[in-house]
């Protein structure tokens, strides 16, 4: 061990080897094939404070070496696979949690903290982050920010960038900064830093929203004969403003071979794949090659699996206050049981019990001459089935494929594909080329929550097109020498002309309009900010989405960012595009669901505090305003009246029903204030906001 710039470091071969790779299946395949392995860094450093990160970056800049930031190394896109001779900043010594502000529901946590350790620490204090990726035990908070992670309960708690109130980081060309709430750096930096995978700065500390541990949880499985009906049920559920926590759909192949509708055998044991492989390995000559034959004929295997598959499984969950659940569940069950068969609690409980069983079951595939990989994308609701079929058709000649959909939003969903193919690097590369092209052609974004890394850098660059200039601009400011993780996220400026923004279909839950023609109090919009962009994420509730898609031209080249629920791959450049595009900018924003509505008013003392308490009780009103002392609360969807009754019971003096009367949301700039401040114009679960006079 040595000290480098005052930072503990090592040049031991073992440390360098361990930090040279993440879990990108391409390098896993290479290891099993006996390839030489990823390039070794020169040195691994363990900074223990933000100041030490700064010192390490200065030392690296002076030495002229590139720097790769390394958390838990569980990324699957090669984002932490660095360059030969680089320095690796291992963040695991940045491992402090706390303090927690139990009044504001905010926790401070360093980047190297393990996800499960953070969640255990929070739960011991009655809180949860609500972020539960399947990799929670083998990922770090910094990694979540680097890749724009999403957890299994994202439908309720949001994705990771929805949880971030502020970030502290260090950039070689700037030094230490804080961005977000209470920050000294421009707020426009935050959406670019999250998802930048260590290419713009080293993120060292986060301030995150937390939530009380839910008192009640409801999980259930539903079987649908047709995939189309299941997807439609997901969409209706998400667009009904019922706010489920879990919506997971398994395609017919995954439903069939995953056995998720059936109870597991007593005593556990290896899955069917491992057992099948063990059986095959007893055949003379097949040890280590049991899967070579079936993976060598994937089109036949895919056809066979399609033949035996029937029906799809949809797992739905709600959690929170029991009274809230009682208000929404009847409407939810009505939607689900319109075409779905209720399978009871079993499938949901089984999933919940094994939800963190990361892909260890895929290792036998590598051992036996194959590869296994996954691809997660996002798209509008109307593009879900076309994208699903396009990808399957594109890769079925290269790999066995199945899929599930596990992150659903009012404006779209993510599809998570699993592939298994013959352990040939050319087959692997060809499969990925075809899969990514199919996604782009069908209108999806090439990544939802795994990040871009090196695997998808070219595809992400094509998708972002000339808007990459926003990332390049910040890169020049923060990392002028280009030492931070070169080769990751964006590889070059691809001035590929983007297809124009297609008008959404009625099922998409979106409405498109020109940014220069924003109206006031637009009732068609789900969240009617007077102008866009909406206030920064940390000044909104996580479920309040400003826009999903932005299109415009940069340097005369058309560009479109956002494909439904997430922005394009990598950092979120939508705000930059809206501000820097030449000519007309068109945006797609979530549209207000049609159907039942309920609105009520009351005049409680301290109305903004009452409003915040309603949010903190788990309610998500579509209208929550205070005007001249009158609190107005409104709900939309099939549970609107039930939720209104629940809200009325929580407002001192109650709420009396009034005609539906939405009001524009304050668009900022806003500044944080105390809940009792006389100028409060908006509240979230985590703060109160007044107009920023400065």
């Amino acid at each position: 061990m040595h000290e480098c710039g005052g930072v503990r470091s090592s040049t031991d071969l073992l440390d360098r080897m361990a930090a040279a790779r993440d879990l990108w299946p391409r390098t896993t395949l290479g290891a099993w094939l006996g390839e030489s392995g990823p390039p070794l860094p020169e040195r691994v450093l363990w900074p223990e404070t933000t100041e030490q990160v700064d010192a390490a970056l200065r030392a690296a800049s002076e030495a002229g070496v590139s720097v790769t930031t390394y958390g838990a190394g569980s990324g699957v896109c090669g984002g932490a696979t660095g360059q030969a001779g680089a320095w690796v900043l291992d963040t695991k010594a940045l491992n402090r949690i706390g303090p927690i502000d139990s009044q504001r529901w905010v926790v401070e946590v360093e980047a190297g903290v393990n996800g499960q350790q953070l969640e255990d620490w929070l739960q011991a204090r009655g809180f949860t982050l609500g972020h539960s990726p399947s990799s929670i035990s083998c990922s770090t908070v910094g990694g979540w920010g680097a890749a724009r992670s999403a957890g299994q309960f994202s439908s309720l708690y949001g994705v990771f960038e929805d949880m971030v109130l502020a970030v502290e980081g260090v950039a070689p060309g700037h030094g230490t900064f804080r961005v977000g709430e209470g920050g000294d750096a421009p707020s426009e930096w935050l959406p670019l830093l999250l998802g930048s995978e260590g290419t713009l700065a080293v993120l060292t500390r986060f301030w995150l929203r937390v939530w009380p541990v839910p008192k009640s949880r409801w999980l259930r499985g539903y079987r649908f004969d047709r995939l189309e009906d299941a997807v439609d049920a997901m969409r209706c559920l998400m667009q009904a403003e019922l706010w489920p926590s879990v919506v997971r759909l398994y395609d017919p192949v995954d439903t069939r071979i995953g056995g998720k509708t059936r109870p597991k055998k007593e005593g556990g044991g290896a899955g069917w794949l491992a057992n099948t492989i063990r059986t095959l390995e007893r055949v003379p000559g097949l040890k280590g090659r049991a899967l070579t034959l079936p993976l060598g004929i994937p089109w036949i295997v895919n056809r066979a699996l399609d033949g035996i598959a029937s029906g799809t499984l949809l797992i739905v969950g709600f959690e929170g206050d029991a009274e809230n659940l009682d208000a929404v569940l009847p409407a939810a069950r009505c939607l689900l049981e319109a075409a779905g068969e209720d399978l009871g609690e079993g499938p949901g409980e089984r999933w919940f019990g094994s939800r963190h069983a990361v892909s260890y079951k895929l290792m036998p595939v590598f051992m036996n001459g194959g590869f296994a990989d996954t691809m997660e994308i996002a798209c509008r609701w109307s593009d879900v089935l076309p994208t699903y079929h396009a990808v399957r058709d594109a890769v079925r000649g290269r790999a066995v494929v199945m899929a599930h959909m596990s992150h659903a939003y009012p404006e779209g969903a993510s599809i998570y594909f699993s592939f298994a193919g013959r352990g040939d690097p050319e087959v692997y590369a060809s499969m990925w080329d075809r899969a990514l092209a199919a996604v782009a052609g069908a209108g999806g974004t090439v990544t939802h929550h795994h990040g871009v890394g090196r695997l998808k850098a070219a595809a992400a660059s094509r998708e972002v097109g000339p808007a990459v200039a926003g990332w390049t601009e910040l890169k020049h400011a923060l990392d002028p020498a280009g030492i931070l993780n070169p080769g990751a996220v964006f590889v070059s400026e691809h001035e590929q002309a983007a297809s124009p923004m297609r008008d959404p279909l009625p099922t998409d839950g979106l409405v498109c309009r020109r940014l220069d023609q924003e109206g006031e109090g637009d009732e068609e919009r789900m969240w009617p900010w007077t102008t866009l962009p909406a206030p920064p994420r940390w000044q909104r509730n996580p479920w309040q989405v400003g826009w999903t898609e932005v299109s415009g031209s940069v340097g005369g080249v058309a560009c479109r960012l956002g494909r439904g629920p997430r922005s394009a791959a990598g950092p979120d450049l939508r705000g930059w595009l809206a501000s820097n595009a030449d000519g007309v900018v068109t945006v797609a924003v979530p549209s207000a669901p049609r159907g039942s509505r309920w609105c009520g008013e009351g005049r409680p003392d301290r109305p903004w505090k009452v409003a915040r308490d309603l949010l903190r009780s788990g309610l998500r009103p579509a209208i929550l305003t205070v005007e001249e002392g009158t609190l107005r609360v409104g709900f939309r969807g099939p549970a609107a009246a039930s939720l209104g009754a629940v809200a009325g019971g929580r407002v001192p003096g109650g709420l009396h029903e009034v005609p539906w009367a939405p009001a524009p949301l304050p668009h900022g700039p806003l500044t944080a204030c105390g809940i009792e401040h006389e100028d409060v114009v908006m509240v979230t679960c985590h703060g109160a906001w007044r107009p920023d006079d400065g």
Binding site: L14, A18, S135, Y360, M363, F366
Partner: protein
């Protein structure tokens, strides 16, 4: 139990359970990484010295196996390979009177080379070299080999402790074996009954309190626990484990 080979390249669930990784933040100490390194050695891509440097990072606590979804017995695998890798030369050991000796090494950063040397003593003897040494006229005894437990624990003050429940091991000889070049702090109480530190106030308990209690329980079951650190004593008592106060013993 699962097939070992499946553990080398999985998403490394075991890392968060490993007290060495938690205490030292070293990726190279992750159980699956150690196993990967040993696999590389078996395939000729790492030298014996490099593989041994990886193998000695395992404390044999078994937390990784408990967390592994398919129960891969990593400590067993690592121990088997480590036995093959131990260097042949052992230093001369002087005769000492009967008694038990404890050594705690407190340097979580540079203990690996020290542990490597100590480990060589432990594992060579456990693999039966003691018998050969007896035949060669050295003063090793099989009873000593049985009692050389060779467990390493995360200590209460955040270091990685190497605890020897060794019968009749001379402190001076051990200290000479360790060396002072790394600035290692150590303590040794020759002639006293065995002591152990459960790590009850260190990183082990901070993130894995159940593991810290379990390690303390293991020591208590094996040989009785006399705990030197007051924080550890409190932790073990809170966990329902009878812990004897060494300082009380010394003063009584």
């Amino acid at each position: 139990m699962g097939d070992f080979d499946t553990c080398t390249l999985c998403p490394r669930l075991c890392r968060s359970a490993c007290p060495v990784v938690t205490g030292a933040a070293r990726e190279a100490a992750a159980p699956s990484w150690i196993a990967t390194a040993l696999r590389e050695w078996e395939q000729g891509r790492l030298s014996d010295d490099e593989a041994l440097a990886a193998a000695v990072l395992c404390t044999d606590c078994g937390a990784c196996t408990e967390h592994c979804h398919i129960g891969v017995p990593l400590p067993e695998y690592i121990r088997q390979r480590r036995a093959k890798l131990a260097p042949a030369d052992l230093p001369e050991e002087p005769e000492v009177p009967p008694g038990k000796t404890l050594l705690i090494v407190r340097d979580q950063r540079d203990w690996a080379p020290i542990a490597q040397r100590l480990d060589a003593v432990v594992w060579r003897i456990r693999e039966g070299m003691g018998e050969a040494a007896v035949r060669q006229g050295r003063r090793y005894s099989t009873s000593w080999s049985e009692q050389l437990l060779g467990r390493r624990l995360v200590t209460s003050d955040g270091g990685v402790g190497y605890v020897l429940g060794a019968h009749g091991v001379a402190f001076d000889w051990l200290h000479e074996l360790i060396g002072d070049e790394s600035g290692v702090g150590s303590c040794c109480v020759p002639g006293m009954t065995e002591m152990a530190c459960c790590g009850g106030a260190g990183p082990l308990a901070k993130y894995h309190p159940d593991d810290a209690a379990r390690v303390g329980q293991t020591w208590a079951e094996r040989c009785g626990v006399e705990v030197r650190d007051s924080r550890c004593r409190e932790h073990l008592r809170a966990s329902g484990i009878q812990a004897l106060d060494l300082l009380d013993r010394l003063s009584s």
